[in-house]
Symmetry: C2
Subunit: 198 residues, 2 copies
């Protein structure tokens, strides 16, 4: 007589996450979610009172258990240059492995503009650990700079590259290897360490 409810509920959310990530709240219907799971739309209402609640639960589900290990890299006994490189590479790999997660954050920042609750969810659940790690990393490299601006600059360099990946292919100089995390991480690390004048 074990409860099997938790699994079912989580199954729904896991199937809903990629749908919401790709089309947004108003771009996905309850019928589409139900079809993706292989159940009837009415059955969703047994697990969630309404679409909004299901959506918020899906976002929270997507944002939980993603506290991946940047701190591990920070505590390594390595030159800071090597640390930074591993650090950037780790974030690149994560974004490549979890495209739905990245798209959902991207979309939440866009759609949640003005909704403090939604934005705080991202800030607290998603970025908090990332951010703390980047701050630590940045201070080790450049203690006198504004760490807030610097942390978002480092994130931006990485994230924007993947955000624009679908459209980058149409620009001059685009190469297949520009989507290789090793190449991207090398480029970003080099730029961060030495700047344009290197």
């Amino acid at each position: 007589m074990r409860p099997i409810h938790p699994k079912t509920k989580t199954d729904i959310l896991e199937k809903a996450i990629p749908l919401f990530a790709r089309a947004g709240f108003s771009g996905v219907t309850m019928r589409q979610i139900a079809t993706a799971i292989g159940m009837n739309a009415a059955s969703l209402y047994h697990h969630f009172p309404d679409k909004q609640t299901l959506y918020v639960a899906a976002v929270q589900q997507a944002f939980s258990n993603r506290e991946f290990v940047l701190s591990e890299i920070l505590s390594m006994q390595l030159p800071v240059e090597e640390k930074l490189h591993r650090f950037v590479k780790r974030i690149c790999d994560f974004i490549e492995e979890e495209p739905d997660f990245s798209m959902l954050i991207h979309r939440e920042i866009l759609d949640g503009d003005g909704d403090e609750t939604r934005l705080r969810l991202i800030a607290d659940h998603v970025f908090k650990n990332f951010f703390a790690a980047v701050i630590t990393m940045a201070k080790e490299l450049s203690p006198e700079k504004d760490s807030h601006l610097l942390a978002f600059s480092i994130f931006g360099l990485i994230v924007y590259h993947y955000q624009t990946a679908p459209v980058r292919q149409f620009f001059p100089g685009a190469k297949p290897e520009h989507n290789d995390s090793q190449v991207v991480a090398d480029h970003i690390t080099d730029l961060l360490l030495a700047g344009l004048k290197s």
Copy 2:
């Protein structure tokens, strides 16, 4: 007996742009657009055959006549450091002045993933001139680097900062002046020129 049609059609698009920018295609109804203009929803169908056509026209309208002058800065007789700074500042100011435009690009890259036509529209109409200017700038500063990666890195540094503005306030170290284009441009220029080790 002058034709007043063009004006009316453009008026509709100009009112629709901010709505689509903030809520996306499926987040905006024909009634909302009509209300924003002060006309009946049915009347919209006199100007556009359907919602999809109106949307595409709105995006094209938003993306046209935005060829702002970066080339002017490039041709100035100034030290490259000063050029870069003006260049970055110019882009920051533009994003601040045209938040709808920036949000619409942001949203189109997200939603248009996989749709080659929509992505090409962005590539050709919006970024083409930006991109060419950044390439020129980057090559002047750092001819041996990969100019494609570099151009997107420079864009990314600037754009990501504004993208995350609504959520940045919830992070440690956030200050009001982080939303001042002068402060942002100074930070980014410094980082690009000298890197973290400065």
